[in-house]
Symmetry: C2
Subunit: 319 residues, 2 copies
């Protein structure tokens, strides 16, 4: 155990974690570490184009968007440890222990968890090759790039159907590919999908391969339950086959979670990003009702940081 | 009444309203109007320097920060009406009526209220002259610019004392000026202020004048209840003498509010910026627990817009 107790430990280095680092250090916490085993920037760095981060204009990639962040956010003294965090545990005195992948531990008065979530891959051929160049997991982010074009959506749950409805207002046609002939989504959403004229249901079918050229996707080949294949010529396919919430760091040795989660494994927070445990905050895509947008994750990080500052200040005043 | 019903009416053109405009139109709503009687940009355009909006670096003014926003946010078809909105009312069919200052009305399926809040002026000499050049109403925003320096804080409520505690971690000394010898803040906060070594209480005193030079504030002259004057030589004074929540547009002719407010007049929202009225959303500084930061207001605007899109889509599917 390193001897000095951290004012705040930030777990994850995407938009939420970086902004939390900016606001905690600029707000006067002197000993703040952001734990991110890779390069900071987060999931958005895989996006080939982003045009909806307010104030940053022009045709830029997600990577370009995030380039200035680490320097700006570390300018006020945020430290970055390139190490994995395996677990966060709680001491009887209310402090937290950060368990690192290298076997070391560090103690912290407060923690902001910003480990995000990861959309599951569907597993068809070409999915990884064309990810970010026609294969997307976010209609809000990328739908507009297909304005006036046809797209495919893969999935049968609430998210898939809601994203299909979102895309149907932007695109001329949406092919909704689903491996069964019934949907897991809420009946109301299913009804709206069925009554939307420019959504074509492609049921009992799975994508076999996404194909394309140097410019990106040009189509998807699906195979139905009878083995018949069909080519759908679209420049974009949106896959919604589930989401892995990166909440492993909250899991305790007895299998319980450090703080309250919903049934999807997302951290339950209030408007100030407080979790059920005092001193533990969550920000960005790991929390309930996350809109999964850079500007929203950054806003979460800012407010979590301001609340962490107050928490640490009050805690230390009672020592 | 103009004939076409708006998909969404956005009231206010600061960071929340502009981002709501970006996300509603980019998400496929075709008939969206942002009502802002002045130039878009909001309160932040009065700030002389901003360094905590993630991704935008360098020494820039609040005005510079906001320059690219209107074009970016209007690129997808957002319309801007330079007219005041006096009131929003609710029709029996669930639609809203936007009452304009010019006597016209417009109907909308959904409304996002982003009219913000306005810190009250304390009323001392030099306050307006030096606003943004040493006189501030936001410690989170401007405190860091006084790192290692002494500052004054004016006020005796919870906000004033919490901001004094925030500044005490950044600045070498904080003079807390208050016109009484007791505080309205919570006892716990008062106790923390009294036990903070670098906060000096300047009680039973009011600021008479803030003075300075071309570079900004150099000091504040206070007068105590006995008429004795004292000069406190500081480069910054933070005033927290109350906040006007700009909720007038929600007030109905019978004196009630269109949606639920807290005792401070702030709009009660959930994590998705829904108010107590379906189809009515609030974003930015007008809502409860607003951190009053540009990135947070923008995040609010984005999520409110995404929820407004779903709301309008569902509403129209039932017609």
């Amino acid at each position: 155990m390193e001897s000095q107790i951290l004012d705040c430990a930030i777990i994850g280095g995407g938009p939420a974690g970086l902004t939390a680092g900016l606001y905690t250090t600029r707000g006067g916490l002197s000993n703040v570490v952001m734990f991110e085993k890779g390069m900071p920037g987060g999931q958005i760095t895989q996006s080939s184009e982003i045009e909806n981060y307010p104030g940053v204009t022009g045709e830029i990639t997600g990577m370009d968007l995030m380039i200035p962040w680490p320097e700006q956010c570390q300018k006020f003294g945020l430290k970055h440890e390139m190490v994995e965090v395996t677990r966060i545990s709680h001491k009887e005195n209310g402090n937290f222990i950060i368990h690192r992948g290298d076997g070391k531990t560090q103690e912290a008065y407060s923690v902001i968890v910003c480990t995000g979530s990861t959309p599951r891959r569907a597993g068809f051929n070409g999915e990884d090759k064309f990810f970010g160049r026609g294969v997307s997991t976010c209609a809000t982010c990328d739908g507009f790039f297909y304005k006036g074009k046809e797209v495919a959506v893969l999935g049968g749950g609430d998210t898939a159907l809601e994203e299909a409805l979102y895309l149907a207002k932007i695109c001329t046609k949406v092919y909704l590919i689903h491996r069964r002939d019934t949907f897991r989504a809420s009946p109301n959403t299913v009804e709206r999908v069925k009554s939307t004229q420019n959504i074509e249901l492609v049921l009992n079918s799975c994508p076999d391969e996404v194909y394309g050229d140097a410019m990106g996707v040009t189509g998807v080949r699906v195979i139905d339950n009878d083995g018949k294949s069909r080519e759908i010529n679209v420049p974009g396919i949106f896959t919604f086959v589930g989401n892995n919430v990166n909440n492993q760091v909250l899991m305790q040795e007895d299998g319980t979670s450090l703080c309250s989660l919903n049934s999807a494994g997302e951290v339950i927070v209030d408007l100030s990003m407080r979790t059920s445990v005092p001193g533990l905050f969550a920000a960005g895509d790991i929390r309930i009702e996350a809109p999964k947008q850079v500007v929203c994750a950054a806003g979460d990080g800012a407010v979590a940081a301001l609340k962490a500052i107050s928490y640490v200040d009050e805690k230390l005043s009672h020592k």
